[in-house]
Amino acid sequence: MRDMAEIDMMQSLITAAQSGSDYAFTRLVRLHQSSVRAFLRRLCKTDVSLADDLAQECFLKAHGKMGSYDGEGSFLSWLFGIAYRIFLDDYRKRKRRKLLDIERSACAPVESIAPNIDMKLDLERALSFLKIEERTAITLCLTSGMSHSEAAQIMDMPLGSVKSHIARGRTKLAEALHVWKKERLQSE
């Protein structure tokens, strides 16, 4: 019953925001800011301020594109789609300018992080060593509870690729966790 009321309220807010209500849009930002920022923080690894800048950009873009949201899929997955594209654009720009070398660390083999026990203790940091696509797919499907097809839509890639990214990322994380636990047991 409460869920239905929430869905109705969300739908009303979206409709009002699409008609140009700034109040409704503000409510939508307030409701979704935490999810979008948390999602971007995971994509941006530890760069919290970059993640928040991109989240602001995401909501500005969403404001301009409100009319294009057609109710297909959840509003949050629509926002995640915008956030992911903004992140990718920013990532490519930074990579071109060589200001931030995310790729090198993102593509580092799992073995290279094995000696650092502290790092493996922290799942967030272990996740940051995955490829962007693996990290995104895992965050969307395993952490945010989205379906594979929603993730495929957000990431603009085939369903099979999303599943592969999840499987590969999960295997890498499992290996990292396995090595870490083994080392911890030996040290005890």
């Binding site: 700034d22 503000t26 930002v29 307030r30 800011q33 935490s34 999810s35 920022r37 948390a38 999602f39 923080r41 995971r42 928040d52 989240a55 602001q56 909501f59 500005l60 404001h63 799942l123 895992i138 965050t139 395993l142 952490t143 945010s144 509870g145 999960r170 994380l173 499992a174 966790l177 396995h178 636990k181 047991l185």
Partner: protein
């Protein structure tokens, strides 16, 4: 510890929801940027409107002779009216969008 328990631990860790993030002025920043964007857009549109108006004055210098000429011929009057109104209506549509 066997491999299975590692996998279970990993699943539990990965399915834990992302930590909620407090607003801490985030929404206010978004709204401020939105307001600034609107102001910039208004200024750009205003400037474009001004330029278009000046262009029209330059392109169609209104003199007593021309006014009399235009009014004497309804077809020419209609064309002049369309020429004047088209950019103005276009800007009004763009501004209202």
């Amino acid at each position: 510890m066997n491999r299975e328990s590692f996998e279970t631990d990993l699943d539990a860790l990965l399915s834990a929801p992302l930590e909620p993030i407090a607003d801490n002025g985030f929404v206010a920043k978004v709204l401020a940027r939105l307001e600034k964007k609107k102001r910039t857009r208004d200024i750009v549109l205003g400037a474009a409107f001004l330029v278009a108006s000046v262009d029209l004055v330059v392109a169609f210098p209104v003199s007593a002779f021309m006014v009399a000429d235009v009014l004497a011929n309804p077809a020419v009057a209609a064309v002049a009216l369309i020429a004047v109104l088209t950019p103005l209506v276009s800007f009004a549509i763009i501004a209202g969008d």
